[in-house]
């Protein structure tokens, strides 16, 4: 769906990136200044790179060798920027309709209402842009991009300019966007939790203008060196599980992890639906014997697959649980004390509360 191989230079910053992605939602991850936005602008045609090739949704839009450069307005890209960038001289309705004016297949009234409903912006239609909150503006920007009838969506940290409360307001809409539209999406973020929630299948990590990693999100998460110092604490595993049932009595949801039970604070998905759970390595405790009289609700039995020393005092332990992998980070002292070895059966203990807000609908068929 997406094939990029470009080189570009802006002042002292040089970008040289190459990656392919077949996932419907591709996460573009990296610290600020890594070149994520530049890559996105190149995809949208707002920057013409010095050299390379860009293929979006199966269509070649740039190829320096063949002298192809499709201008931005013919690329059919729905671009949602960090700031909403709405047209202040138009009201909300006309902002939303702006793209339809130029689209070849104009979205009909039904589609318009559908997008307006999805984003809950019906009451704002007659309003001027100036009086709206940041969250409302960003929702309108998303609607405006959708209604230009794009072949692909580029979301450039659409939540970055919002404060925490506004972020929580907009996040569900962005989430719905990736579930309800069938468009390929590139989602840019420097926040791991956002990325895991919205692009939990394929991730491209960018660092200093180069691609540091391109592949499955689950594997990416197991490599703290790629996450950067501030997010390495979140390194761990992604478990692919199903919702077994919701337990009304105490507000927990029971998930099925290869036959074993995993209890997490209630998730919104219906029983039977596929869910991804992010388990941080530092939240996993190990025990040789099945522990008794312990408050933690989750004890998964599995087998140690590998032990890797990490720094002076820590060991990363990879554990096979059914067909899934779990990662635990324990001290070297504990590992020696328990005489951990590859092939050994082991019990992984995880507090349910450590998994709060860490279970999400699985996107794009993980």
């Amino acid at each position: 769906m997406l094939s990029i191989d470009v080189a570009h230079r802006i002042g002292d910053f040089s970008l040289d990136c190459r990656f392919d992605s077949d996932a419907r939602v591709t996460g573009l991850f990296g610290p600020s200044g890594a070149g994520k936005s530049t890559l996105l602008r190149i995809m949208a045609g707002l920057i013409r790179p010095e050299r390379g090739r860009v293929e979006l949704a199966g269509r070649c839009v740039f190829d320096s060798a063949r002298n192809i450069h499709v201008p931005a307005h013919r690329r059919r890209i729905g671009y949602v920027f960090q700031q909403a960038r709405l047209f202040t001289h138009l009201n909300v309705r006309h902002n939303l309709r702006y793209g339809a004016w130029f689209a070849r297949d104009k979205p009909d009234a039904e589609r318009f209402d559908q997008v307006v409903d999805m984003l809950d912006i019906g009451p704002l239609l007659g309003r001027r842009v100036a009086g709206l909150s940041g969250g409302e503006q960003q929702r309108i920007a998303i609607g405006r991009a959708l209604l230009s009838n794009p072949a692909m969506l580029l979301l450039d940290e659409p939540l970055a300019s919002l404060d925490a409360a506004r972020k929580q307001e907009v996040l569900p809409y962005v989430e719905r966007l990736s579930v309800e539209t069938q468009l390929p999406i590139v989602f840019v973020s420097h926040q791991l939790d956002e990325l895991l929630r919205l692009a939990n299948r394929q991730v491209v990590a960018v660092r200093d203008g180069r691609v540091a990693y391109c592949g499955a999100t689950a594997e990416f998460l197991a490599r703290p060196e790629l996450l950067g110092a501030d997010q390495a604490r979140d390194a761990g595993a992604l478990l692919r599980v199903r919702v077994r049932e919701h337990q009304q009595a105490d507000g927990l949801s029971e998930l099925d992890c290869g036959g074993q039970s995993l209890f997490v604070p209630r998730v919104d998905q219906a029983p039977g639906s596929a869910v991804t759970v992010h388990v941080r390595a530092r939240d996993v405790m190990l025990a040789r014997e099945r522990p008794q009289g312990i408050s933690a609700l989750n004890i998964l039995s599995g087998t140690i697959e590998s032990l890797v020393a990490d720094g002076d005092y820590a060991v990363n332990v990879l554990i096979g649980v059914g067909d899934q992998r779990l990662e635990a980070r324990v001290t070297r002292r504990s590992a020696e004390h328990l005489e951990l070895a590859v092939g050994q059966p082991i019990h992984s203990v995880i507090k349910s509360l450590a998994l709060a807000e860490q279970a999400w609908e699985r996107l794009g068929g993980l």
């Binding site: 949208a44 707002l46 671009y79 960038r85 130029f102 230009s148």
Partner: protein, 229 residues
């Protein structure tokens, strides 16, 4: 209220000034666009050229026009032969002189509004499918409108009051090039004409004030329609 002679002077002045502003509108937009957006280093030269009428003595501008566009000059002769367009000693000459003198005043506010526009909004319009021409028409020009109106009023007032370049280039021909300031000057030169001059002066003040008022009203209207963030 007005006697026929005053009415003639007033309507000629309004006509000449309006023509001057209308015809300089597109070139001024182009010049402002170039000055605001171009990264060419020779830009300063163009900037200086645009502002020249503001600093040159108007008589010099008028004389240069006469030399450059007179019937016997190269360009003037060509214009007259090809398009039948004659400037010297015609009302068209008065309009041209007014346009040139008002040009810097028209360009400046447009340029300032252009520079205030967030070009990222224009980029957003491009990603929504608008070609550069459509972006200019549907985003840039509407956002520049307040500056455009301010510039038009300034240029109109300047063209209305234009004297030096006009009298040098187009002379003082009743009904053809005798605009308000030239008529006032003429009456002051004639013994006993002070009364007539005073009446024209009052008319002149009334016209200028109403132009300012109208522009203020339009500007408020536009501001209400597009309150910036």
């Amino acid at each position: 209220m007005l006697n026929p002679a005053q009415a003639e002077v007033l309507s000629l002045s309004l006509w000449v000034a309006s023509t001057a502003v209308l015809f300089s509108l597109l070139p001024a937009l182009a010049a402002a666009w170039f000055l605001a957006r171009s990264r060419w280093r020779g830009k300063m030269l163009v900037d200086a050229l645009v502002h020249l009428p503001l600093v040159l003595p108007p008589v010099v501008t008028g004389y240069l026009l006469l030399v450059g566009l007179g019937r016997n000059s190269l360009v003037g002769g060509w214009l007259a032969d090809t398009f039948g367009l004659v400037f010297a000693f015609q009302w068209t000459g008065a309009a041209l002189a007014g346009a040139i003198m008002g040009f810097p005043l028209l360009v400046r506010p447009i340029r300032l509004s252009l520079e205030a526009i967030d070009t990222r909004v224009e980029a957003a319009a491009a990603t929504l499918g608008a070609s550069p021409a459509w972006v200019a028409l549907t985003v840039t020009v509407p956002l520049v409108l307040p500056g455009l109106i301010a510039g038009m009023v300034l240029a109109f007032a300047r063209a209305l009051g234009e004297f030096g370049a006009t009298i040098t280039f187009a002379s003082n021909i009743p009904g053809e090039t005798r605009t308000l300031p030239i008529a006032i000057y003429t009456f002051i030169q004639v013994p006993g004409g002070e009364n007539q001059a005073l009446q024209l002066i009052l008319i002149s003040i009334a016209v200028s004030l109403s132009a300012l008022l109208v522009s203020e009203l339009i500007a408020r209207r536009v501001k209400r329609l597009q309150a910036p963030l």
